[in-house]
Amino acid sequence: MSSIHPNMALTGEPPKSINTQQKLATFLGMSGLIILLLAAFNINFPNKTLWLSISLASIFAGILWFAKAAYSDKHPGIKNDGVWFKSMSSRGYLAWLAGISLTGFYIILYFFPQFIGLVQGGDNTGLIALFDPLSKALSGNPASQWFVYGTLYTIAIAAFGIKFIWKYRHNRYEKLRTISVIFFQTAFAFLIPEFMARLNSDTFSLPYYDLKNIWPLNYYNFEQYRVDSFISAGDVGLALLLFGIVSIFVITPILTYKYGKRWYCSWVCGCGGLAETAGDSYRQLSDKSQFAWKVERWVIHSVLVFVVVMTTAVIYSYLGDDASKYWLTRDTFLIGVGVFLTLLFAGIWFFKKEELAKDARIGAIGYLVIVLSLIGFHYAGGTKLFLFNAESLRQAYGFLIGAIFSGVIGTGFYPIFGNRVWCRFGCPMAAILGMQQRLFSKFRITTNGGQCISCGNCSTYCEMGIDVRAYAQKGENIVRSSCVGCGICAAVCPRGVLKLENGSLDGRINSEEVLLGNDVDLMDLLNQKSR
């Protein structure tokens, strides 16, 4: 047949191209970014307020237009057509381009802010100067690289959040969750700290920060300068300091017990917020192998130990020795930490030992012994606490975990490793919440009897790399410490098999096969044999 024109045909092609409107929208958004790029190359825009507004508005509008062009003419429902054909979402050329650009941006942001115009003790230039008007309007201060980052971050969460809501407009859980994330980012992470800064003066100084940013995610919360300024700011400061402590030791366990870690990770947290919105197109890239799960368990818990050790050393370093001056001395503190960790360990061991896998037992015992013996060595030999001085530990943590892991790798590599690399492998807050979720929570993902067809949509679209199907096809509930409760597995399931629930603790973990359909006697038998 001679009438085939392969290059002219628009039919039969896998759905990987974007439509004309989406192309125009991309152009609009990109032009907004180009204004920022030009500013970064020191083009001095005459009317900064105007150009910044044009730039940010173009980016925002470009994303919304793109979303409208992608979803508005389609039925409400799952929109995963072509995900694995599109270059951007399947580690193609565009994904690498995006990954490298983002990574480069993070490296400049963390380590070379002078390249984008940060001037210490003088007027900003370049990109940062472009943001000065907005920063002054909010806090009264000139912009910093963190203000630039915070603004772009908030725009990303808000614009891609609206895109996400459009995409999942049939799903109220997803809509509410995303509205919550947009709210917490805009109000708590972006605006409130700026307004708090406005309250500060020469006579009153309070650390202004994102109040929902809880230690250990906020690893510097208990450093000396912050604690000092909390205390010197009087009752308000003291209240904030107490709130910081209560957050991790009281509020967090209660909420996690009732709702699972999702209350934080996919409803409140800023890292999670960016992952769920701007990172949504990359959720399918997470590694689902059992090997990756093993790596995850060791790495994330090692980061947790690191942050506990580092924070202990830092607090220890600025406490005094004289109990008559202040009740909390170095010794009281250090012994307190040792006792707390031992009690925590003993409690878990006593109540939940049978739920711990072999590597969890080895890891828990190993790390406890190491931490306690380091404390012991310190008293026996008088060497430095934890072998290094507190400042080196703090710097190492800030560099390795705070900058490289959470920023450069965690977000820069979204298009390659998926959108939750930091949350899955690195975040010490997620590690704590995860332990609580696995051992002391009412949350689980319920599997609906025998309806699973092992299709694999749930596992594919799990951003945390949980092999959801492995549980669902056996009729088992999913109770995993890493699950952030985003609800996408339940959304993409074509057979209505999964449901996120807070329910009774009885039968929450059912390791037996409970497939329905087969008559009840046979199921009893299957379970007896597998015990």
Partner: protein, 428 residues
């Protein structure tokens, strides 16, 4: 050591293999010519649509089989010598077995249409079908699908993602009308049409037309209309894949005949899954059930029998599920397309017509018989219990909320459903 050989690595064969391994140390070999590893057949469509890649279809990582000592053999079985307990492969080799499980699944129906062997005419059941469809899609503008069942609507959705126009010929007055009550079928038809599919009811294929190269160029319908197309999808049901067993001593009708222990007429030879036909009817079930779930149950049951615990195949209450474009469907118990004697059906639909249900009960005893539900998820365990407890229709309606399995914060419709049914019951 006893050698159990399983022909077919689908859900039935693999479930049997896994459970035999769980309960014993026997040597297990699984044979398939279709694919290297077990995959989810129901998810083939998602690879074509770009939701998943081939590797995502595999429920177990590749190391799983060796670790569990389940040997995999990639080959097509051509002939079975039941006397010598030997399989012959198409490449000439042979393999001995002590016990044999046939789990060869099913193939698309062909009814001797003129042109059914042409290039571009295909079904959508196997991995090879998926690869063929990928080939046939290149430059394709128009496809005609024959037969309105689950595979048909999946194919319609698949082809739509490639901007291929789909004409869908359905014999009944509405989609899948031989299975679904008209109320449900009609609404599904509307939904399919809303996705741009040219759905033709009460229309059948007469013959498939060929171009000069032996490729399909169109179809002729029984109403005399000629529709030009480059793909014809055969979706008029499936039949047991037992062609290679013809002229053997294995007793078969449409499928391999088995007793209630899934044993064939030949000692040490068993059959499970789609390729099976029950000698004795089980409840109201059809003798051949080409369904994922029944294949899995048969695999579990037979594994018990083969590991020393002779177990009757007793599937519980009927259930099934599917998705028609954006509308999820679940069914529990029996809801016939036409109510049987003494049965009554109640219908409800939400105003947006993407959520609806039909519930069936016995008019004299008021016993709840079954439910078809669309766009709302139900909890299998609860409905299953109600069926076992033989609850009344009133009980089910007033407790429907307990069975809801929709995600959190979803709007609930139980009140609306309840009042709609109260009206239907009082006016009936």
């Amino acid at each position: 050591m006893e050698h159990i050989v399983i022909i077919g690595n689908g859900i039935s064969g693999i479930t049997a293999a896994r459970h035999i391994r769980k309960n014993s140390d026997k040597k297990i070999t699984v044979i398939s010519g279709e694919s290297d590893f077990f995959f989810s057949r129901t998810a083939l469509m998602y690879v074509y649509m770009g939701h998943m890649k081939w590797d995502h279809l595999k429920p177990y990582e590749d190391w799983f089989w060796e670790k569990n000592r389940i040997e995999l053999k990639k080959a097509w079985v051509e002939k079975i010598d039941f006397e010598q307990k030997t399989l012959r492969f198409s490449v000439g080799e042979a393999m001995k077995y002590d016990k044999l499980i046939i789990a060869t699944g099913s193939l698309p129906n062909k009814f001797g249409w003129e042109g059914e062997e042409l290039e571009g005419v295909q079904g959508m059941v196997t991995k090879q079908d998926l690869e063929l469809l990928e080939k046939n899609s290149v430059n394709c503008k128009k496809a005609v699908l024959i037969g309105g069942g689950l595979i048909g609507v999946e194919m319609a959705e698949m082809l739509s993602t490639r901007k291929i126009d789909v004409t869908f010929l359905v014999r009944e007055k509405a989609f899948w009308g031989n299975v679904l009550p008209y109320h449900d079928a009609h609404l599904i038809s509307k939904h399919i049409i809303s996705h741009g599919v040219d759905l033709r009811h009460e229309e059948e294929l007469d013959k498939i037309l060929s171009d000069e190269n032996g490729r399909v160029k169109g179809v002729l319908t029984k109403n005399g209309e000629e529709i030009a197309c480059e793909i014809v999808g055969l979706c008029a049901g499936v039949h047991p894949n037992i062609g290679f067993l013809q002229n053997s001593s294995l007793e078969a009708d449409k499928g391999i005949l088995v007793d209630e222990y899934l044993q064939t007429n030949i000692k040490d030879v068993y059959a499970i899954g789609d390729c099976v036909q029950q000698r004795k009817n089980i409840g109201e079930r059809k003798p051949i059930e080409a369904v994922w779930y029944t294949g899995r149950m048969m695999g579990e049951t037979l594994a018990q029998t083969l590991t020393g615990n002779k177990t009757l195949y007793k599937p519980g209450n009927w259930f099934n599920s599917a998705k028609f474009f954006d509308i999820e469907y679940q069914t529990y118990g029996w809801v016939w397309s036409k109510p049987k004697e003494n049965e009554q059906q109640l219908n409800w639909k939400h105003e947006d017509e993407t959520k609806f249900l039909t519930i069936s009960f016995n008019k004299t005893s008021n016993k709840f018989l079954g439910i078809n539900i669309y766009g709302i998820r139900l909890r299998h365990e609860v409905i299953d219990r109600w069926l076992n407890e033989e609850r009344s229709i009133e009980y089910v309606l007033s407790h429907l909320k307990e069975a809801n399995f929709d995600p959190e914060f979803y709007k609930t419709h139980e009140k609306d459903i309840f009042s709609a049914f109260k009206n239907q019951l009082t006016t009936a």
